[in-house]
């Protein structure tokens, strides 16, 4: 399984000279399965670049949305494959008692917010609510589970052969809870991340910033590290960077995360901050995830 980060920023795109290295595009991760099948995790502005990279590949592809906040769907109407008639796109996402996934996404892909309507997209697009049970896409087994965030929000786990990826980009497992002390079955998202080859997890706030953002649905650095240690993820990539965090600030947070990770007994290099365009090839769980670039 190959993983590429196309957008690592949270909340709002933040391009500029101060965010060049970690990137300013919002959440999107490309996953290439062992048979070449393609998944996109979330459709923030990063999916535009992913779509351009796929320009020569007419394909069936699956987009797995964690939730419908704008920073996770904004790139949909700029995703080039959606405008190719030969492309089949399956969009998965959380169910809601209020309206279907299609109707909720259509609130964004419709006037006055969008120049095109869902029904006008040339591709063959379908919308599916994620089942509560595991399902298959190509060679991969996919699991979705509700996680602690604002509104209906999912985390995903993708198992392909011996490697596994957990993706929980918007997550506040420590809301009203001490995740260092809680039993594991009472920790939001735990089963998704347990023993994963790679965990991509919310790390939006520095510890000092978190008290002003309790209940906003995101993790502090400490909470993300604790969650990663408790779940025994082999490698953790912190994600959904705060738009106020410059490259220099993220460098500081990355160093802090690594120091604390190793002080807790974690492997050197076991945690890092996600950078746009970073690529990984996930190996079997007995071996370390190997960076491809």
């Amino acid at each position: 399984m190959k993983v590429k980060l196309w957008g690592t920023r949270g909340s709002i795109p933040s391009p500029g000279p101060e965010t060049i290295r970690y990137g300013g595009n919002t959440s999107c991760v490309g996953v290439t399965l062992s048979d070449g099948s393609m998944l996109a995790l979330d459709a923030g502005t990063g999916i535009r670049s992913l779509g351009l990279a796929l320009a020569a590949e007419p394909a069936r592809l699956h987009i797995l949305l964690t939730h419908l906040h704008l920073d996770h769907i904004q790139g949909l109407v700029f995703f080039a494959p959606a405008f190719r008639a030969q492309t089949e796109i399956v969009i998965w996402g959380p169910a809601s008692p209020e309206a279907s996934l299609r109707d909720r996404i259509a609130r964004y892909i419709s006037a006055p917010l969008s120049p095109v309507e869902v029904r006008e997209l040339p591709c063959d697009v379908s919308f599916r609510h994620c089942p509560q049970t595991e399902w298959e896409i190509g060679p991969a087994r996919i699991r979705a589970a509700s996680v602690a965030h604002r509104g209906p929000t999912l985390g995903y786990r993708i198992d392909d052969g011996d490697s596994s990826l957990a993706y929980i980009p918007d997550h506040e497992p420590a809301l009203g809870a001490d995740i260092d002390a809680l039993e594991e079955d009472w920790i939001s998202g735990f089963e998704l991340a347990r023993d994963a080859s790679m965990l991509i997890h919310d790390g939006q706030y520095a510890d000092a910033e978190y008290p002003d953002h309790v209940g906003w649905g995101h993790s502090s650095l400490s909470h993300a590290i604790s969650f990663a240690r408790r779940t025994n993820a082999e490698r953790t990539v912190l994600f959904h960077h705060d738009p106020m965090h410059s490259d220099e600030r993220l460098d500081q947070l990355g160093r802090e995360a690594q120091e604390r990770w190793t002080a807790m007994g974690g492997a050197v290099g076991g945690i890092e901050l996600g950078a746009e365009r970073a690529e990984y090839e996930l190996a079997a769980p007995t071996a370390s995830a190997v960076p491809a670039s």
């Binding site: 009203g176 594991e184 079955d185 939001s188």
Partner: protein
Amino acid sequence: MTTQKPLELILARNLMSALSTPAFLVDEGGVLVFYNESAGMLLGKRFEELGTVSAEEWGALFGPFDSSGEPIPYDDLPLVVAVRDGRPAHADFEISSVDGTRHRVEVSAFPILTAHGSQGAIAVFWPAGSSNGAGH
């Protein structure tokens, strides 16, 4: 390995942990999976000491009892009604703490309904005659 609790139960427990009103949480099978510190004070036993218990075990430990001291049938308990019927339920009865002290309480229970059906129920205990549930 234990089974991951549904998010709605996790969030309910987190909320209840911060309340000073006695509150109880059962899963979709009616098993008591958590009660908060205030409820522990009422019962004379912390949840961490007791652990999860079925509704039948709960009845043997703490009651409840009607005004004449007779045990109330299991099927009539507000939490059972909330889980079984998927609707709110209210009752006024006595419970017994571990030292035998009887407490008269009002109980309101409501189901935790989600897009995927019922996940359990919450019950809040209110000392009967009190205007402040935290004042026991």
